[in-house]
Symmetry: C2
Subunit: 327 residues, 2 copies
C-alpha cells in the first residue's frame, strides 16, 4: 500500500514535490490543489489538478498534504487550517516566527488528531538537525552555519525593486578564510562581513544610471550594507544563459573539545551542494510526509519539527533492514 | 535534577565517558564499576570505584549505565544482562552481529521496562544516521563511507602479532581521488583498493628480518592484501613521540539526482575529524544516555538504536529552546 500525497500550491516547490514523489516506491501523488484555474495549470506528470476551495471533498483520499506555499503570507494561515483535516508538512522558514507558527499549528493538529510537520527542508531542516546533534555531542564548542554558494531569492528580489533594474540574480558566497579558520578548530569570532560575500548580476534598463544602481545595492541596509558586495552588469541574454539555475547549499560546522582538560579537538562538518534549492527542499518534504503518515498511524498527533521525529520514520526500509544495512 | 550515570568498564572509552559527563550540566557521574580490584583503579576525577559484582546493590542510585566493554566478548553478554536492571547504553560495533545483539537486548529491556541503546558512537552511530537521512532524502543516488585518516586498532593489533614486531600503529587513509570523484556527483564504482590506503609504522626487534615483516604485512588476507599498503620501520621512541594519539574520522557522502528527468544533482557530505576516537565515541554515548533516561521517563522501553531516537531527546535544551535557537 502506498502513501497518497497531495500538493497544495504549485510553484517551484510544488513541482519539486511532484517529481520527488515519483522517485519513491511507497509514495503516490494523488493530485495538485491550486488557487488558479485548474484547467490553466500544466503539470509535469499529468496528474489531476483541483481547485483548492474543494479540497475537503478529497479528505478521505489523501494521507498527507504537502503545503507548498510561501512563509510570508500563505503558510501562517494554510498550515493551521489544513492541519484540522489532514496530516500536513510545510517548509515554513521564517526562523523568528517558528515558535508562534508551532503553537498555532500544534493546537489545530492536536484537536484533529493529525500530525503536522513544520519547517522541514534544509535550513530550517537538515542544517537544524546537524546543529542539534553536534551541540549535544560536543557541548564544549562552537557551531557555525555558512550558506552558499547559492542564489538568495530575497536578495535578488531586493535588487529588482531598485529603479532602473530589469532583472537580477544574487549569490551568497561563504568566505574560504572563515571556513578554514572554523575547520582548524580555532573557534574564531567572525563578523557578518567575514563569513559571507555577496555577488550580484544585474540587468539595467537602457540609459539607467549604473553607478547609482550599484551604490543603492551595496549600501542597502540589512541586505548588503554589512557585506562585501560585488556588482556585475550583464545583458538579459547573459542572465538567462548563465544564471537560470537555483543552486544553493552551505555548511554546518561544530568544533569542540573533549578530555578531562579539554585537550582534544574534534570537528563535525555537514555540507550540502545543491543544483536545485527547491527540488532538494521538496525531497526533504516527501521524506517527512512519509514520517507524518507513519507517526499518525502509530497514534501520534500534534505539531512536530525535525527535532521530534525519530530518523527511522523517514526511511522506506523496515527497522530490521535499517539495522542490517545502514547501521 | 541531574541524570546519574554509572560506567561499567574503565578503559579508554570509560575514561572518555568520565570526562564527558563533566562537560554536561545535567549529568552526574555516580561511579565506576570494574572487574579489577577497585582499590587499584586510579580515576581521572577521583569518583568512587566499585567491584562490578556488586552493581545491583546500587540499582536505585543509577539512572543510566554506560557499558564500556569490548564488542567481541563483553557487550554480547553484558548489555542484555544489565538491561534487566538498568537503562543502558553501549557502543557495540560488530556490524554483522547487530541484528542478533538487538534481539537479545530487546527481549531483556522489554521485560524489565528499561531503555537499552545499542551501537551508539560514530560508526555505527552518527555515520549510520547520515546514511539513513541522506538515502531517505535522495532515494535516486549512491552512498559512500570513507574512514580516516585515523588509527585502526584492529589493524595495528594484527601487525603486532607478526614475529619480530615489538609495536605498530596502522593508519587508514581515504584516497583523495576517490573522495573527489564521489563529490563530483559521478557516482563512481570504487574497489576496496581505490577507496583507502593503509600506512603502517612498525617497531622491529633487533635483528628481525624487516623484509619478511613487510611482506607478511602487505600480503595479510582481509587486513592488507586488498589495499595499497606502505610500511615504515621506526624506533620505539619515534612511535611513542609521533604516534601516541588515537585520531580518527571519515566521511559519509551521498550523491543523488532529482527532477522529473533526474537533471539536478545534489551532494550531501558529513565528515568527522577527531583528535581522539574513544573520547568522541564517549561523548556520543553520554548524549544517548540522556536520551535513554528521558525516553524511559516518557514510558518507553526496549532496545533502541540511533535510528529510533528523536533528536530532541539528545539535547539538554527544552523543545521551546530548540525551536527558538537551533531550528
Amino acid at each position: 500500500m502506498t502513501i497518497k500525497i497531495a500538493i497544495a500550491g504549485y510553484g517551484n516547490l510544488g513541482r519539486g514535490v511532484e517529481a520527488a514523489i515519483g522517485q519513491n516506491r511507497d509514495t503516490e501523488l494523488y493530485g495538485i490543489f491550486t488557487r488558479r484555474d485548474p484547467a490553466s495549470v500544466k503539470t509535469l506528470t499529468g496528474v489531476q489538478v483541483f481547485d483548492i476551495k474543494n479540497i475537503l471533498d478529497h479528505k478521505d483520499n489523501i494521507d498527507v498534504l504537502i503545503i507548498c506555499g510561501g512563509s510570508a503570507t500563505d503558510l501562517p494561515t494554510q498550515t493551521p487550517e489544513y492541519a484540522k483535516y489532514f496530516n500536513v508538512v510545510d517548509s515554513f522558514d521564517t526562523h523568528a516566527k517558528i515558535p508562534e507558527h508551532f503553537a498555532n499549528v500544534d493546537a489545530c493538529a492536536k484537536a484533529s488528531g493529525k500530525i503536522a510537520v513544520i519547517s522541514a527542508g534544509w535550513d530550517p531542516g537538515m542544517f537544524s538537525l546537524n546543529r542539534l546533534y553536534s551541540e549535544a555531542i560536543l557541548p564544549d564548542g562552537e557551531s557555525y552555519t555558512f550558506w552558499g554558494k547559492g542564489v538568495s531569492q530575497g536578495h535578488s528580489d531586493a535588487i529588482r525593486r531598485i529603479e532602473g533594474v530589469i532583472d537580477a540574480r544574487q549569490y551568497t558566497i561563504p568566505c574560504d578564510d572563515a571556513l578554514e579558520a572554523v575547520r582548524s578548530g580555532k573557534n574564531p569570532s567572525l563578523t557578518t562581513r567575514e563569513k559571507h560575500t555577496r555577488e550580484c548580476f544585474v540587468v539595467a534598463a537602457d540609459g539607467a544610471d549604473k553607478a547609482r544602481i550599484e551604490r543603492e545595492i551595496v549600501t542597502m541596509p540589512n541586505y548588503f550594507a554589512d557585506y562585501d558586495t560585488t556588482v556585475h552588469f550583464i545583458t538579459l541574454d547573459e542572465l538567462k544563459r548563465d544564471h537560470a539555475g537555483i543552486p544553493h547549499g552551505g555548511f554546518v560546522i561544530r568544533s569542540g573539545n573533549t578530555g578531562i582538560n579539554g585537550e582534544n579537538n574534534h570537528v563535525i562538518e555537514y555540507s550540502l551542494k545543491l543544483d536545485s534549492n527547491p527540488e532538494f527542499t521538496s525531497s526533504v518534504l516527501v521524506a517527512y510526509a512519509r514520517a507524518a503518515y507513519r507517526m499518525n498511524n502509530d497514534g501520534l498527533c500534534g505539531c512536530k519539527t525535525v527535532f521530534d521525529i525519530a530518523p527511522a520514520y523517514l526511511s522506506s526500509k523496515s527497522g530490521d533492514e535499517l539495522r542490517e544495512k545502514l547501521l
